[in-house]
Amino acid sequence: MTAALVPFASFSGAIEFIFSEQTSNVTGGAKVGGFEQAVELTLKQLEVTVLALALALIVALPLGLYLGHRGKGEVVLVGLANAGRALPELALIALVAALIGIGLVPVTLALAVLGIPPIVSNAYVGVRQVDPAAVDAARGMGMGEMEIIRKVELPLAISTVMGGVRSATIAIVATATIAPLAGVLTLGDYIINASIYGEDGRLAGAILVALLALSLEGLLALLQRRLTSDGLKVKTA
């Protein structure tokens, strides 16, 4: 009977941890938890996620679109996408901390590295799937190559491109959770340093990380709808 209630008790403890400050059992009475701390750690995780995603986008999106437009580098990109998937984020963070150093800049770089493969390869695939007739028509209308990429290929490839951005975001925000190992205090600190925050803190961290990831995914889904041209929506309906 009571065993079945344990999960509920844990969750209510975690919710309480988020909203009210408590005294840590472990660190000689230090204060842990509370809304202010939760917000601070959430914002830090959001900050490092957004920075890394922006950096990955700046590098990967033009590269993927351009290579897709030229139809070059498929073998390299497929290899890159597979290698990116096989890269364990825990090892990445550990190596960055050991070899480059700790702090916001090394962590941002490491997370951006995780985001680049899905964005490049999806941009490439998306552009390759664009009907060549549309590209020819654009060329016939006198568009330059850059204009074709920007005004024809990118809009037509937007769902595949955004698929890559969403995968990258999920990987980055998930890995930002272990950023405390490299000295950036995100929500993962509640999870990794449970000896300070206690079990309620750890579960609170897990809840907040899950909510953050789902919110970002939801926002990107909305953004994708906004970016999809009305003409394309009609076609799929």
Partner: protein
């Protein structure tokens, strides 16, 4: 010894791994500028055996469970199309929740250890396998189904003898992505006391001693490549008609 399961039992999952193993890392820690210490690697390569086996176990069991569930869901959704949108949404949520958070959301229910890791990893693979299976079934040409119907096949026979075999490339592609990702993500099982190669990355002060991290990383990448190539071969074997050459 300092196995994660024992540490877990004493309530020390996560934060307190760092004291272990300092004595045998000393020769290399004396030379902090050296990123890879061959002497240590030679002497300590044995310690990677058990974590590698644990890692394999985590990956294989999770992906098998994930595959069984996702494949069944795809078959249901194939027959009852109204299920497609909700199933995509639910598996999408499971895919989006970061594994490390998922571990601790499950903890109050399934406890510390590899079971929790397996549940979370299996949940992560659902969307990848489900989407690819649906895509494969969707890509089967209508002409093939009509030909089968003309030959007197029932719906069930069409599914198992025509649609699923023709969907194998997409299904195996999904399995490949799922398994390669799971090999990488299973390193996080260390945080929930699930063992695996993560124990050789996050443990024993490795954040300042990269040799062990490099070896674990190499094993993870090799394991992922082996699964990748193995599944490519399996796909060739399962779809002999695709290897036929037109004369």
């Amino acid at each position: 010894m300092g196995s994660p399961l024992l540490l877990a039992a004493s309530g020390q999952v996560g934060g307190d791994f760092f004291k272990e193993r300092t004595s045998d890392t000393l020769p290399c820690q004396a030379k902090p500028n050296e990123p890879f210490c061959f002497d240590w690697a030679k002497e300590n390569i044995d310690r990677f055996g058990t974590p590698t086996v644990q890692h394999l176990e985590l990956v294989v069991i999770s992906v098998l469970i994930g595959f069984a569930i996702a494949f069944a869901l795809a078959l249901f959704a194939h027959r009852s199309t109204w299920l497609q949108a909700p199933l995509l949404a639910v598996t999408g949520i499971l895919y989006t929740i970061p594994s490390i958070a998922f571990f601790f959301l499950l903890l109050p229910v399934t406890g510390i250890g590899k079971d929790t890791a397996i549940v979370a990893l299996a949940a992560y693979t659902l969307q990848i396998i489900y989407r690819n299976t649906m895509l494969g079934l969707h890509n089967v040409p209508d002409s093939a189904k009509e030909a089968a119907r003309g030959m007197g096949y029932t719906d069930r026979q069409i599914l198992w003898r025509v649609e699923l075999p023709l969907a194998i490339p997409e299904i195996v592609a999904g399995l490949r992505v799922a398994i390669v990702s799971t090999v990488a993500i299973a390193t996080l099982a260390v945080f929930i006391g699930g063992g695996g190669l993560g124990t050789q990355i996050y443990g024993g002060g490795n954040l300042t001693f990269p040799t062990s991290v490099f070896i674990a990383l190499a094993i993870v990448v090799l394991m992922a490549m082996a699964f990748h190539l193995g599944l490519l071969l399996a796909q060739r074997y399962l779809t002999p008609w695709r290897n036929a050459r037109a004369i």
